[in-house]
Structures are given as structure tokens and as C-alpha cells.
Symmetry: C2
Subunit: 342 residues, 2 copies
């Protein structure tokens, strides 16, 4: 991703919400990354404590956290979101120091941000903040609707529309703000799309691990998935081709996908090898989970070799969820990653 | 639940996985509860540290945790599950001291335990453990399939079948084990069913808080739900009748239900009052969640009164998930509950 950003002349400002790890952060630093994206004030505080000085909190600013925001803004080059006139008015009064901000725009995902075509709402924010302690940086978006795509072609189609919307915003507002920047960054488009014309920065997060969702969309190969949950077998049920493992939603999250037969599954299953893991076992999947229980559906020939006390691996449907839920990750060399405490 | 158990002459051995709180544990003690159920060795260790001496780990024993199990068995009256001959053989060798065990039976849920009708598999475990350090207590079941019921009548129907299966097991094995006990305990049947004939103990967990799932099944009234997530409004979108709140799956879990129009929702919405909360706002629900974002769908008249910085409440779809994810709960009087660290 760092190479791609360099080649495309965009800045990689990776989202750290997926790994939430100071150790993984250092790997990014080695690749030349200087600025990062997080999803909460708490996460910004954590990474500020590990020497990150340029942090964007990619979440609509919660005015109730103003004290913490003021403290952070004194320590680091903090960038926040101002998504409404209302929030702008409150922040102008409550901020103790100048703070840079992005306006988050909604380009079709429908989660948060101002509709990218609603330039009058955008102008109102710019009017309220003009000459104040709130310094306008540009526009930021998360095109989360690429997650609904079922092919790389579809991702490209969505990404092209998104980029055109962002470029059009830039054309409109650059007269008044010639240095305004445009940032985007869902993992599917950052992985698949090659055209970043007019874009200044990208901030994907999930790509650090990838997962089955990304693999399905076409954003990653199966052997690019870099996270695997090791789980102990606690019961073997040959009569129903199932084993019970200690891995419930408290360990892996509750994200599911639908298989080709219309059944929900919660991960693919791999064998752990001395220093790695195998390709997914064909015909095997996590078929049920509850709080602490996981149930694997396994083909008969694999069943025969499994016994109580064995450890198998799960490639997660959603890496962000598994990383956050476990809160404890080791590299294949056995190094424990330092992670943000819950 | 304590009163119902007393009246029905069954022992209440509540499951503590829902609340995971030493403080809530004390409330149970005040109701005369002496023995508890947990779902992991870690949770047993936590509650043993708060003076609980009779703890059942209601999970197929993970032989890889034998060291911790041995340590616990020296401190408290530990009860574990032996669900296979294989596990029995391993435990016989590895246990340092006598430990009581239940055989978990599957009465239709299909998650874990030996099929309740498979008396030959049960007999094999009893044969392996005869005269050993593994002391047979009886049968335990979690009839999780009551969660698929759509009415209290359906729960009763399932519960009657389950209880008959358990009584039949008792008749079969009591010749050899005259003191064997039978335990059951999903919250729907413990809440709705009135007939515990032949049952010795019940171990429901979720009823301590209840939630929208239980309310839908008919296990609880809406005003019996005793858990509410307070969430700040960070953006207001009158043009789409939605507000964005800081409440994603990291705060509330990812459990959903389907509304009458076929749409998924992740909780109902209430107003917080000085010392309580209101009934759910009609027509309002949590319509989307991602890692940190929640989106509420609100009727127009409610929208008009909501502004950035307001705090609303969510009645969770699944109380266990919300309690575990937040890890921090306060009573309405402002007392912070002591909870198990993640």
C-alpha cells in the first residue's frame, strides 16, 4: 500500500483502528508513514503516547469529549471532523487552541458526513469557521458502500463515481481554499482501484490484515490474509461432522458471510503449521458461534484426524473485529504485539 | 428467579457470563445463591477470587487448560464438563485431585454435549471414570433452541420435550447413580415454563438484565429490561430522519433482529430520564452499526428535538454482548459495578 501510494503521488495516512497496535504502528513508520488516522479520541490518545504527532480522528466530533480534545490539541497536530454548522458553533466556543478540521462528506455510503452534493451545508460550516480557531483542511470520505460490491469491477465503478464527486468538490471550493485536500480510504477501493487522480491522501485500515470479506470482494488473495485465530478443539462429533472449539463471539466477533448454499458462516478453517498456516481446508467452515462456543463443520476425511486438544486456525470474516476482540496478537516469530487496552 | 426456584424446589445456580460482575454476584448472594455457573476457566478464577466456592464451568473441558483447572480444583469445589470418553481418559491422567463432573447432553440445540439419546456414549464415559478421581454428578443441558421460538407457547413446548428427555436419562442412570442431578437453564424456558418436575437445578444467565431478544420471545416485559447503553449524538441528519451516535459494535456487539418490515435493527431507543429511562420511542431503532458508528432511525417529531451533544439510550438486542463489550456498567444510583477485566 505504501508503494502504491508513492507511485500514485498520494499520501498514505493509514487507519489504525484495525490493528490498534503500537508495534504495528512502528512497521508503518519504517515505510515512511508520518500521519495516521484513528476512529476515537481514546485511540488518538493511545497513539499520541507512542510518538505519533499527526493524527486525524475520523469520526464526527463528539462535543462531550471537548476536554480531552483540548488536551490532545495542545500536544499534537490534531485533525478533527466538523460535520455540521451546529458542531462548528460549539467547537468555536469550546476549543482552547487552533485545530485543523476536515468536513466529512457522504459519497453514497449513508453513514456519516454531509451529502457531497449539498454544497450549501458545506458553505455554512465554512462561513461559521472563517477566521476562527477552526482551520479548514479539506474533505474526507469513507466510501463504505464498496463493501457491498461483489466483484473488483464493481468496486472500480463505485470508486470512479466517488473520485469524480470528490474532484468536483475540489473544483468548487478550491477558489476560496486553494490548498484544500481530499482524502478517501476504504480498503476495497484503495486495494483494487489504480486511479487516484485529484486525490491527496488515502487512509485504508483493514488492508494491514485483510480478511474473508476483503477476499470475497477481490481486494486480497487468500494468502494475503495476515491474521489467524488459534483455537483449541474441545469436543469432536463425528456423527455430525462437527467439532466444538473454544472460540465464540467474545474471541472473534459476530461477523458472518453467506456460503454458496445460503448458509451463514463465521470464518474459514486452516491447519496450523510450524511457522505458518495452511490454505483453508476445502469444505470446512465455522458454522455456529455463541458467546464462547464455536462449531466447525469439517469434511469426513479431516474429521478422522482431529482429536480433543488439537489446535486449529480460523481466518476471520472480519479482521478488525477479531483483532479488537482478542486484544492479544503474536507474530509468527512469537513477538507479542503491544495493543491498546480495552 | 430466586423465588420461582424456591417455589419449584430447584436450586438456582445462576450463570454469571452475562454480567461478569462481582457486584452483581453479591446481589445473588443476598438472595441465598451459593453456587454459580460460568463459561470459562478465566471466569471461574475471577469469581473464585470473590469468595465463590462452588463453581460449575459450563463448557466442554479444554484439556490444554489443565494446569489452571488443577489449581482451581485445589481452591474451590470445582465442577467441570466431561463430554467424551477421550476427554475422560486425558483428565484421569492429568488431574491432581478429585473433581466432580457433569456430562453435558444435547437436547436439540446441536451446539455441544452428547446427544441425550446416545446412552451408549454416556455409559462409556461412566465406565472410564468409574472409581477414578472424576466424580459423576449428573447431566447438564442448555436448551439453546428455545431462542428460535417465536412465542411463549413454543418455548413451553420445547421445554416440555427437553424436560422429558432429561427425566428419561435420570430414570435410566439413577439405578447406578441414585444421587445424580439434572440441571438445565436457558433463560427463555426458566422464565416462561412453570414445570420443573424431575429437575434439580436451573442455571439461567441472561435474565439478570434481559434484552430485546428475550422480550420478543416473551420471556420478559419491555420494562423488565435492566440494561441500557447511554450514547452521545454526534450528528443530526433531518433530511434522512437519522442521527449518528458514538455506539458501534465495539460498544454494543453486533446482534440484530429483523423488524416487521424485514429490516435488520440493532437495538431500540429510549430517552434517558433523571433516574431511569423511558419506554422505547415508537418507530425508532438502531438501523446501522459499524466499528464505532451507530445510526438511529427516528420519527420526524422526535428528530426535531434532538441536537448534537444530546445523550440517548439503547435497549440492546443482546444484553450479554453489550455488557461484555462495554465492560463498564453503572447502577441508576451511580454505583460502578466491579466487572471482570477483559
Amino acid at each position: 500500500m505504501a508503494d502504491k501510494a508513492k507511485k500514485s503521488h498520494v499520501e498514505l495516512i493509514p487507519h489504525f483502528k484495525t490493528h490498534q497496535s503500537a508495534t504495528v504502528g512502528e512497521w508503518f513508520r519504517e515505510k515512511g508513514v508520518k500521519a495516521i488516522t484513528v476512529t476515537s479520541v481514546k485511540m488518538a490518545e493511545y497513539f499520541a503516547g507512542y510518538g505519533w504527532n499527526d493524527i486525524t480522528i475520523a469520526f464526527p466530533t463528539n462535543i462531550l469529549e471537548i476536554e480531552k480534545i483540548n488536551k490532545l490539541a495542545e500536544r499534537i497536530d490534531l485533525k478533527i471532523f466538523v460535520n455540521s454548522e451546529e458542531t462548528a458553533v460549539l467547537l468555536k466556543t469550546e476549543l482552547n487552541t487552533s485545530v485543523k478540521f476536515y468536513i466529512e462528506v457522504d459519497v453514497g455510503d449513508g453513514r456519516s458526513g454531509i451529502n457531497a452534493e449539498n454544497s450549501s451545508a458545506i458553505s455554512k460550516i465554512l462561513e461559521v469557521t472563517r477566521g476562527s480557531n477552526l482551520l479548514f483542511l479539506g474533505f474526507y470520505t469513507h466510501a463504505g458502500h464498496t463493501y457491498n460490491a461483489s466483484s473488483p469491477q464493481e468496486v472500480v465503478k463505485i470508486a470512479e463515481k466517488v473520485n469524480e464527486k470528490l474532484r468536483s468538490l475540489k473544483r468548487h471550493f478550491r477558489k476560496e481554499f486553494p490548498h484544500l485536500k481530499i482524502g478517501l480510504g476504504d480498503t476495497p477501493s484503495c486495494s483494487i482501484h489504480e486511479d487516484f487522480e485529484g486525490i491527496d491522501s488515502i487512509h485504508p485500515g483493514n488492508f494491514v490484515y485483510y480478511d474473508i470479506v476483503q477476499h470475497r470482494i477481490g481486494a486480497s488473495a487468500i494468502d494475503e490474509i495476515a491474521i489467524c485465530l488459534a483455537v483449541p478443539v474441545v469436543a469432536v462429533h463425528p456423527e455430525r461432522n462437527e467439532v466444538v472449539v473454544h472460540s465464540g463471539w467474545v474471541h472473534q466477533g459476530k461477523d458472518s458471510l453467506i456460503d454458496s448454499e445460503g448458509k451463514a458462516f463465521y470464518g474459514l478453517i486452516v491447519h496450523l503449521t510450524e511457522n505458518n498456516w495452511s490454505a483453508p481446508i476445502p469444505g470446512a467452515q465455522v458454522s455456529k458461534i455463541s458467546q464462547e462456543h464455536g462449531v466447525f463443520n469439517l469434511p469426513g476425511d479431516v474429521m478422522n484426524d482431529i482429536k480433543v486438544g488439537d489446535v486449529l486456525g480460523i481466518l476471520p470474516v472480519h479482521a478488525c473485529a477479531t483483532a479488537v476482540m482478542m486484544g492479544e496478537i503474536y507474530t509468527l516469530e512469537g513477538e507479542r504485539l503491544t495493543m491498546m487496552p480495552r
